[in-house]
């Protein structure tokens, strides 16, 4: 790990002398390209002789493929290739548990599973031909929810996964049951999240072209190097045969992590036709066959002493993997342990199971399991505050971790301003004033979360490397493979390089990932780029700067220690007897260093590996070198006549260390809150036969500007010693607490606690009206229950949890 920026006692910390470009509202380096429409997204790729492709998908949740008749499609003029599973390597692939064929072999396992594909001269022809492909199926019994999949004798989604378990693990760290037995107050309940789609404006897409025995894939993936590895497996090729180049990306959010078949099918078609092929998901395909958020059902038990100190937590978690695993196994790990780095638990116990179903496979989505965990565990904390008679912010402050805390899983917290965040969020929303003067049908709630800055998950490396080349025209080229998914990461990296080099941000270029040309990188995942890649770029720039100053020292005869770079020039004080200080353009120094006998370029190489541990099978290990934190508070209003929720205000106080670029960081927080509100309130489908009935935005409602609350976004005064200029990750954290605070605020407003996302107006309405959040005809015998709380939907039924104010 880098110790360059560890504070040294007695010396001023770097935070006190941050370069001016750090923390300033630098304009995005890709702003003009994007607003003028010149940025080239996946579907903008154009290669001479390029064909277009279409995919035939299973209409059944589970079926045997008896025959595929492609003859009519193949005869359509303009069709160049029709492929089925027989044309593929028939190798299963997947990030953790290989279980997915590029095109179905013998069986289809969800509505949307890829069966055949066509490449044709244009899109209309490809689609038309695809409709002519006849597939004969033998429909098989399907498991369409968690309970069906876990039932004794349930049909198996995969024959090699008995009990439909894709992954499971359990631990008890500290003897949680004993602590719970000795606790004065124990709360418990069952909470379930649901599938949420990324809803990126740009869908997943790829253009592939072969040259001899190598394929180049222009893909809008957020993880080109990791995707390349999996694509090679899926294509039955050695790694060296695959090159991945990142296009512009119109929204990632985890959904473009390369766990789906689109790019693989595209490459197979390109090989078969001998021509470049482009395949871009339609919106419907994006809903049917991308990798949405994993629905998770948590049974949570939480213990406290009578004075509000948390003792222990026990969770039993089942997660809906869908038909194929992808990243879900890793998500399960995060969803089981991460939130234990928030509070000083004495003991934690967990059992986590990832369950195959015949539904659309699930995977990575901003928050990576934490929004589901924070929703379930956050609900238990909210109930506990009521039971204990302690205001939520006060209960959090009593138990929050601090710098130096170590979680039961060995998360070693370096910088931590969680308590500052709690206080600031409470102040921003006016917590105590609003509590003192409650308004009917309005409710207040707070939630907290912790996230990583990079996560050691894909082998024992979470590092990044970068090359900074100073050019003979006085600029710097940053060569790095991390990429840009719209967060502004390349701009932030440019700022870091500019700060180290003394150049203007406008004079820094940052490469796009290309697995042939750039440094190896894990890409945009786990809120890692600012922290991990930022450190690599910083070091590369430092080293380039050292070489520059050494060159300038040689060229001018000054000691290097007297030299510095500022405003694109190398400076030195005036020599004794001279009037003018030295002011030499950087480009002049670089050129002079090159244009001499034995001349050399000025190139700095930087490398950084996250100072973290590779967690073991039971998820023990310090998964990240730096943790970011948030506290969020919301006030909602519920219309009791309809159950409709209006989120009036939401305050977020974020600890992401030094804020490198305030508008970019605020954008991350605001966007995350919007996605959290969608998860909490509006995003859902009607399902029939294992698929959404209308897989498009007519039914699937993401929040618009019109429903966003008044936002207060604040950043804690914080500095991460291991971060670049003190920075930590910020991409995901603000989403995590949103479903929980909306649910708690609704409960505070009208006494209805919804146990399954999303928190629809209808559920609240029935909760107010009948005490149960399902319509009367769907409820148990008698329909209209007298109880104030709905029975949790799980079995065995735990003691029902309580509405605020209700005593046990």
């Amino acid at each position: 790990m880098s110790t360059t920026h560890a504070p040294v006692p007695g010396l001023p910390r770097e935070r006190d002398v941050l370069p001016p470009v750090i923390g300033s509202a630098v304009q995005r380096i890709d702003a003009v390209e994007k607003v003028t429409g010149r940025a080239s997204y996946a579907a903008d790729t154009r290669i001479p002789r390029m064909l277009h492709a279409a995919v035939v998908r299973s209409p059944h949740a589970h079926a045997r493929v008896l025959a595929v008749d492609t003859s009519r499609a193949a005869r359509v003029p303009g069709v160049h290739a029709v492929i089925t599973g027989a044309d593929t390597a028939q190798v299963k692939w997947g990030a953790f548990r290989p279980d997915l064929y590029p095109l179905a072999v013998e069986r289809v396992r969800y509505v949307g599973d890829e069966v055949a594909a066509v490449a044709a001269i244009d899109l209309e022809t490809a689609r038309y031909a695809a409709e002519l492909i006849r597939v004969e199926y033998e429909v098989l019994p399907a498991v369409l929810d968690l309970d069906a999949a876990l039932a004794d004798g349930a049909p198996l989604v995969h024959d090699d996964a008995p009990g439909n378990l894709a992954h499971e693990f359990a631990f008890d760290r500290g003897g949680a049951r004993e602590w719970l037995e000795r606790s004065d107050v124990v709360v418990e309940g069952v909470w379930q999240s649901t599938r949420q789609w990324h809803g990126s404006i740009e869908t997943i897409g790829c253009t592939a072209e072969w040259s001899q025995d190598r394929v180049t894939m222009w893909v809008n993936t957020q993880t080109p190097f990791l995707a390349r590895q999996r694509y090679a497996t899926a294509l039955g090729l050695p790694l060296r045969a695959v090159r991945v180049v990142q296009t512009e990306i119109g929204g990632g959010f985890g959904g473009k992590s390369g766990d789906d078949n689109t790019s693989v099918i595209c490459a197979i078609l390109a090989r078969k036709t001998g021509r470049p092929v482009q395949l871009v998901n339609t919106r419907e395909e994006e809903f049917l066959a991308s990798r949405p958020r994993i629905p998770m059902r948590y049974h949570v038990r939480l213990g406290f002493t009578s004075d509000g100190l948390v003792t222990a937590k026990e969770i039993d978690l089942v997660a809906d993997n869908g038909a194929y695993t992808g990243k879900a196994q890793a998500v399960l790990g995060a969803a089981t342990v991460r939130h234990d780095a928030l509070f000083t638990y004495r003991a934690v116990k967990a059992r986590s199971r990832l369950v195959y179903t015949n539904l659309v496979p699930t995977g990575a989505f901003r928050g990576f399991g934490n929004p589901s965990a924070d929703w379930a565990v956050g609900q238990a904390w909210d109930l506990a505050a009521t039971r204990l008679g302690i205001e939520v912010p006060d209960l959090f402050l009593l138990n929050a971790v601090e710098s130096g805390s170590v979680s039961p899983h060995n998360h070693r917290i370096s910088s931590c301003e969680l308590k500052q965040c709690i206080r600031r969020a409470a102040a921003a929303i006016g917590w105590y004033d609003k509590r003192a003067a409650p308004t009917p049908h309005r409710g207040l709630a707070m939630g907290v979360s912790v996230h990583v800055s990079g996560r050691r998950s894909f082998g024992d490396y979470d590092g990044s490397s970068a090359i900074v080349r100073l050019t003979e025209d006085g600029r710097a080229a940053v060569i790095i493979g991390e990429g840009e998914i719209g967060t502004g990461a390349r701009t932030t990296l440019a700022q870091i390089a500019a700060a180290e080099l003394g150049l203007a941000v406008a004079d820094i270029s940052v490469s796009r990932p290309d697995t042939d040309l750039t440094t190896h990188a894990l890409g945009a995942l786990a809120s890692r780029v600012t922290y991990v890649a930022g450190n690599a770029v910083k070091q590369a720039a430092e080293r380039a700067c050292e070489q520059l100053l050494a060159a300038a020292a040689r060229q001018t005869g000054r000691p290097a220690a007297e030299l510095w770079v500022e405003d694109g020039h190398v400076h030195a004080p005036a020599m004794p007897g001279e009037d003018t200080p030295l002011r030499q353009p950087v480009g002049t120094v670089v050129r002079a260093e090159l244009y001499r006998p034995g001349g050399e370029p000025i190139v700095g190489l930087g490398s950084f590996d996250n100072p973290s541990e590779f967690p073991d099978q039971l998820r023990y290990g310090n998964e990240s070198g730096a943790y970011n934190f948030v506290a969020e508070a919301a006030e909602v209003e519920v219309d009791p006549a309809t159950g409709a929720v209006t989120v009036l205000e939401l305050a977020a106080a974020v600890d992401c260390g030094t804020v490198l670029n305030p508008p970019l960081a605020e954008g991350q927080v605001e966007g995350a809150i919007a996605q959290g509100l969608g998860m909490a309130l509006t995003e859902r489908f009607d399902w029939d036969g294992g698929a959404p009935t209308r897989p498009n935005f007519v039914d699937y409602k993401m929040p618009t500007a019109g429903v966003m609350p008044k936002l207060h976004v604040e950043f804690a005064d914080s500095y991460e010693p291991t971060g670049p200029f003190g920075a930590k990750g910020v991409g995901e954290i603000a989403l995590d607490p949103v479903p929980s605070i909306v649910a708690s605020a609704v409960a505070d407003a009208v006494g209805v606690r919804v146990h399954e996302l999303p928190i629809t107006a209808e559920k609240i309405f029935w909760g107010i009206r009948t005490g149960s959040t399902t319509p009367p005809e769907q409820a148990g015998p008698g329909g209209l229950s007298e109880s104030a709380e709905p029975a949790p939907p799980d079995r065995p039924a735990p003691p029902r949890d309580r509405a605020p104010g209700e005593e046990r």
Binding site: A54, V55, V56, R57, S58, P59, R72, V111, G112, V115, L123, E124, A126, R127, Y128, A130, E131, L132, I133, R134, V135, T282, E284, E285, L288, A641, T642, A644, T646, L681, T682, R684, F685, D686, T693, R694, P695, N696, V698, D699, K701, M702, P703, T704, G706, V707, T760, A761, E762, F765, W766, P775, P776, E777, Q778
Partner: protein, 299 residues
């Protein structure tokens, strides 16, 4: 594209190019529409949605009618308002006189989708789409609007609720609303429930019209409900006219509206919930209409 292998393959006819004709006059349009496979094209939103849904395309010819002069503009006479079928919803929503005289209609038009879509959608196209969740037909049904329909060589009128009887080759020319006499105590209101609060089809939508006589007794009461089977449904309010517009009357209208309509379960709510919301939003619409009729502040 998504091919879920449902049903027979489409005919090759679907791949034939579709012709787009731009009619210069009503006569032109009717002549063009009389040909086999010709359908009118208003703002184009409905066609775009059909294409997106990949419904079988049977139209061979699209006849663009939105801009022909006989379908343009809002005309006012002593006894009626004639809104051309080519008028965009945005123009209806922002028409000051219409907002004054038939707020239910202006509010409904202004509640559709987003501003960009309202600037495209024509009133005639919105009605002729025969979608039970569309807003303007609900308001127009409550207001008792009548359509002028033109075919090759004929002209007929029909209530807006009978738009289902339009036949191929016919075109809605305009929509006629009655005018109230000066000083009449009439009020109307449109209430729409967006269950998720964002751009979407309504969970329920209700239009109401209340007219009071000199003594403040309800002379006329009309409620229409959308987003229900066979909608918009004009609710039979029986003997309610003749009573004073008090809370009991409003509650009874709400009860009748819920009892007279059959909502369906979908992503916006269960049928049971929607029935209760029909009652709630009828209550809101009738109350607001009555307040407006009585010269209340919200006018």
């Amino acid at each position: 594209m998504t091919t879920l292998d449902h049903g027979p393959a489409p005919t090759d006819a679907a791949r034939e190019p579709v012709h787009l004709l731009r009619a210069g006059s009503l006569t032109d349009a009717l002549a063009q529409l009389a040909t086999e496979g010709a359908v009118p094209l208003g703002g184009g939103v409905g066609h775009a949605l059909a294409r997106q849904a990949r419904r079988p395309v049977t139209a061979r010819t699209l006849v663009a009618v939105a801009d022909i002069p006989e379908l343009a503009g809002i005309a006012w006479t002593d006894d009626r308002i004639v809104i051309g079928a080519g008028v965009r919803l945005d123009a209806i929503a922002s028409d000051t006189r219409l907002r004054e005289e038939w707020p239910v209609v202006a509010e409904a038009a202004g509640s559709v989708a987003t501003a960009r879509i309202r600037r495209m959608v024509t009133l005639g196209g919105n009605i002729a789409a025969r979608d039970d969740s569309h807003d303007p037909p609900v308001a127009l049904a409550a207001a008792g609007a009548v359509l002028t329909v033109r075919g090759a060589g004929h002209r007929r009128t029909l209530p807006v609720t009978e738009v289902g009887s339009l036949s191929a080759g016919e075109l809605v020319q305009d929509v006629r609303l009655p005018r109230s006499t000066p000083g009449a105590r009439i009020g109307s209101a449109y209430e729409k429930f967006l269950v998720r609060g964002v751009w979407e089809y309504a969970c329920v939508n209700v239009g109401a019209v209340v007219a009071l006589d000199e003594s403040g007794t309800v002379e006329r009461l009309s409620v229409a409900v959308g987003s229900v089977t066979g909608g918009p449904v004009v609710v039979d309010l029986g003997a309610l006219p003749g009573r004073v517009p008090d809370a009991d009357l409003v509650a009874e209208a709400a009860r009748l509206a819920a009892a007279a309509t059959r909502p369906y379960s979908d992503v916006r709510g269960s049928a049971a919930y929607k029935s209760l919301m029909i009652a709630e939003f009828t209550r809101r619409a009738v109350s607001k209409a009555a307040l407006r009729a009585a010269g209340g502040a919200d006018r």
